[in-house]
Amino acid sequence: MNGMPSTRAEALFLDLVEADAAARRERLDKECADDAPLRAEVESLLAHHDGAGVRFLDTNKIRLMAAHGNEHSLEPESRIGGYRILGTLGQGGMGIVYRAQQERPRRIVALKVIRRASASPSLLRRFEHEAEMLGRLQHPGIAQIYEAGRADTGQGPQPFIAMELIQGRSLTEYGRERGLGWRERMSLVAQVCDAVQHAHQRGIIHRDLKPSNILVNESGQPKVLDFGVARSDDADALTLHTGIGELVGTLPYMSPEQVGGRSDEIDTRTDVYSLGVVLYELLAERLPHDLSGLSLPEAARKVREDDPARLSTTNKVLRGDVETVVSKALERDRSRRYQTAAEFGADIRRCITGEPIQAKADSAMYVLRKQLRRYRGVVIGAGVSVAALAVFTALLYSKSTSNARLAESERLQAARANILLHEVTEAERKARAELTASRIEQGRLFARAGNLRAAEGLIWSEHARDPEDPYTAWALAETYTRNPCVRAFRAHNNPARAALTTPDGRTLITAAEDDPVVRFWSLPDGVSTGEIDTGSAQINAMALDAPGLRLALVRRDGAAEVWNTQTFRRVFTACTGDASSESVTFTPDGRYLLCGTRAGSIVMLSATDGSRLAGLQVGRVNVNGLVYSHDGSRLAVWTPERIGRLWNGVTLEPVHVLRGHNDWIHSAAFSPDGSVLATGSADRSVRLWDVDTGAPLSRLLSPNGTVNTLRWLEDGSLLSCGWHSIDRWYPWPVHGGPALREAWISQSEQTKVFACGGRGEYGATVRADGRVHIWRLRGAERITEYGGGSERSAAAISPSGRVVAVSDQAGVLRLYEANRGELLAAIPAHKGRSRYVQFQPGGRLLATGGTDRYLRLWDMTTGSLVREWNDFHNISGSSGCFSPDGSLIASCGPGYRFRVRRVDSGAEVATTEPMRDEAISVHFSPDGRTLATIRRDVAVELRRTDTLELVSRSLLRAQPWATQFSPDGTRLFVSGWHDDVFVLDVPSLSIERALVGHFALVPSLACVETGDPRLPLLLASSSSDGDVRLWDWRSGRCLATFQPAPGWEAICVAMDNAGRRLVSAHSDGGAVSWDLSALKRGIAGNVPPEPERWLPGVSPAEGSTLLQWASRALREPLIEPPIDMYDPEVIRSWGRLTPGAPSGSGPPTAPAEIDGG
């Protein structure tokens, strides 16, 4: 410890503290000429004054130092999460990047371990959300993010990101080393444009595209790195610690709007500019702006104000289109650039192939206008000049010439203006559509990352702009399916204070800070059922008696009130005496009321008249909570302390003190049998205690913040609600052993209070802002599950959507009532796995095919087998197919051939000769005249139905597996091992577009007409990645993704004719159906977020269109299902609920004759 400065040193210091360096030096030279220690002291103080900065001892915010010094790198072989460190790859602003081995799946990854020191928990949470969002970007041109998480390293959670490790060279190095020609170089950038466009469509802007961020791997695929991770433009987000050196490396690739610091102007076109620089550099081997030797401000000015050197000055070959394209990307005015990376990429490709480029037309016009503008500049700048005189003369001349000529020129002008206007409106329309698409996609990503609030904000505001847009409707359906939120509404305008549900689980009661009104809501529909106005005081806590007939409130002024919940009348108001009451409970017999006060006492009142019976001092601090065991024998009491107290509920004598939590206890609940007490704490854990002995039983770690509410359900499971999630804990081995934590509802929003319905079907969270979300905690009202059976192998739905057929690995066919999931009948249809199940269109038959080589037809009116063939080859779910009129059935056969037969007579219509490759799939065109067939030769083929003669054939990049025709027969959708679903033109079979999204085999497709002109056709695909996706094939966009059985392959998908119900079968033995119309109608129950929180551009007035839309959606009648022969009642009447042994070679029932389809 040093002594204080001398009086003289202090005075000198104060004199000099505001002075500049020179003045300080001069004065010190003079004053301390012969006093070196004095000088040293003053200089040291001045240095520390300057070094302290404004935030040292800032009185507004004290931030405790997180860790000493720098973070140290992890040693090789050490572990973090499921990763083993192999070595260090590099060090960035956010942390250190390691080469690491992931355990499952086993692969080498790049592991970015984030510096903890500077990031607050809420910041890290946002960061993780962002990383999770980026993880959903799946494109061959983007380095994949595998996982973002936190590993508990013992020093608190350590955030990390695992991503694809790319071995390759930077784009420029690659071009140089391989000696690529300009076409190859341009082609690389076009591929990068595709990747960037993929991200842009999902609302993600890179902001830092440069050659060192684009690596080309061995196979020549460019990969964009560092997409958005560790970067965010808002001030409170993680700051990128960019050193000056790094900035200099980045500056040449920054757009003028970035250089100018106009962060509000940064959008997708910023990335287009950077891509332009990359392309320029790749072609010219130099940068568009020579910034070497310039100071930062000079360099910035140059980027903002100067046009780059023309590309053709370095290489004459690049004159013309290439130069035009590059210049358009490098326009300083972003509205003059390519508006999307896709447009840029398309023009690059046109350059390569020599097609006319898009940029040309308007750029000529622009050059003209640009010159005119320069001209005007000259005129203004130079005053009277030769040029101005020339213009003036020309003007006079034109005026003096004939009127006819003038009219002609005006017409030309007008025509040109019209073209320009059209171009501008067209560009605007396109830009708006892009923006909408990008916002919706970003909203969907937010929802998948668990940030419901951000998702709602984005998607609902887009919905307000265009309530008829099918994209937003599907995005909302997806959002609310993933987040099982049944209703969302605002209950109070102030922060929530307390919430509870009545014992019957039908009513939610909420109270807010500084709000005298307590509100009652029905569960789960969230309709206001009543309110009580308590006057002016603030309500601190509420409690219900056991039957739920009386509501007790305690107020900040210390008063307690009891209200009748049926009549909404006050029973009495009483004074608890000392101080503000913080907690309240009825005794289980309903005779007394206990109020915990701020003065550390518990006051006992009569629950009938409020008379004060007794008072008891607990301690010096607030009594925050009181809860009785159901039999009233024990009372749990908690205060702002780490300990909990367990009392005798009758004598109110202390029995046990519960020690173990590391932070304050916020909640407690007794198990239904009263033997276990659960306590939740700010230490993010739930602890279980033996009520008899007070001994700790186990500890459940909730990763999502303070556990503020606990609730036991009748099945013995425990619900815990933290700031960010609702967790469900399943019964555990009482002494030790981990409990199972289930399906948590994740929220980015901080939950203030949580209430859960009586039997635990619904829970309601009340956020700090007063918004209530009602969550479905178990089951799913719009989703039907079809239980029973072993691993499922196929599913089908009858055209009317009333009957669902599911087959399994054992060959058992089960028929269910679609809506309720009731099992109607079970038939042992095959001896072995059955992958093909289909209802006959317009008929009453069901076809099944199995690996036992049988193709069988079943009569759904009698349940009997009507026909079978022993020559079926069942490899895929589309190994067989009914013709659209139901009269024919096509099949794949052993010996690798295709067959077409008549359903009524069984007669063969056509057959192919045995082929070299295995037959996989057959599918009829809508007119029945053509078949799409697939063999194991990586091709898709069209054949004539009558002869099976090959019409056309197209080779794909991987083995196709299933096909679907569009209802008008002009397109063929093909899915398979190529992950993407291809849209092929019929009959040329040229690939028109790819639907990108799945990342594993897509074994099944289904499509249906919707009648909505904006989305006439709904295409569904199921994939081994576990997702069922809905597509708009025209735009190539995915409308929604459902994960009926997360982690399990989605083997099969089918839809009914009205497009109301979608069925999917999964490898885990589950088959589910989704009521799609109910999903869309369900959105109407979710009132959009508050208008003031919407994105700029949506006025609150537009909110009314949402409500109109919602009310219309609710009124909308159900689509009338078509009537067909598949009647659940008839099938139930068969009385075959238990399948016998799967049939052998012989049919279970004698084949009956059938009369036509």
Partner: protein, 199 residues
């Protein structure tokens, strides 16, 4: 406990004003409890975070304990000065407790790689991060050598008072408070830097 904390605090402040010296000793626990509760509520909101806003907390505690009317200009400042003096001590105690706990959690972990011995020799005080435990030590040194500067820092930093408020509370001129604050800040910064380098 006859009254609620608000009444107790008001009563204590008037007793202090009337010259009852021992009343000041009774004030601290009340203010400490209130601040601790408020701080905990804030912490819970931000998850168990590390950021606190002493100014806001102290003022909220003041309003909760004394009421908004107590803040009016026509009220005597004496009472308020005592309140804020107690608040500063309480706040400092809370901050140091938090920091100690955070540090002990950090060192207790089995995967800890942040060894004290490994720290770089040139560790300095980060601009917005203060090692509260070190500051607490250094403040004790300041108190021993220059009680007035110590008082100024307590009120300015831990109770979040402005220069003017501090000058009223300590009965000093604003210029003096500003000078003392400037010197103390530079001095504290120097001492903390030394602590950091192990000197």
């Amino acid at each position: 406990m006859a009254q609620n904390p608000t009444e107790q605090v008001t009563l204590l402040l008037s007793r202090i004003a009337a010259g009852e010296a021992h009343a000041a000793a009774n004030l601290l626990p009340l203010v400490y409890d209130e601040l601790r509760n408020l701080a905990a509520a804030r912490m819970a909101k931000e998850q168990p975070g590390l950021t606190l806003e002493p100014t806001a907390l102290v003022h909220e505690a003041y309003i909760r304990l004394i009421g908004a009317e107590g803040g009016r200009a026509d009220q005597k400042w004496d009472g308020r000065a005592h309140f804020f003096g107690a608040a500063a001590i309480a706040m400092r105690r809370i901050l140091v407790e938090r920091a100690r706990r955070a540090a002990s959690l950090k060192r207790g972990g089995h995967m800890s790689r942040v060894e004290l011995a490994d720290e770089p020799a040139n560790a300095t005080v980060a601009p917005d991060e203060v090692d509260m435990v070190a500051l607490d030590r250094v403040m004790e040194g300041l108190k021993a050598q220059d009680a007035r500067k110590h008082e100024v820092v307590m009120l300015r930093y831990f109770a979040g008072l402005t220069i003017e408020e501090t000058s009223l509370a300590l009965d000093l001129s604003p210029a003096t408070v500003k000078n003392e604050w400037t010197i103390a800040r530079a001095w504290l910064h120097r001492e903390l830097a030394r602590e950091g380098s192990g000197v």
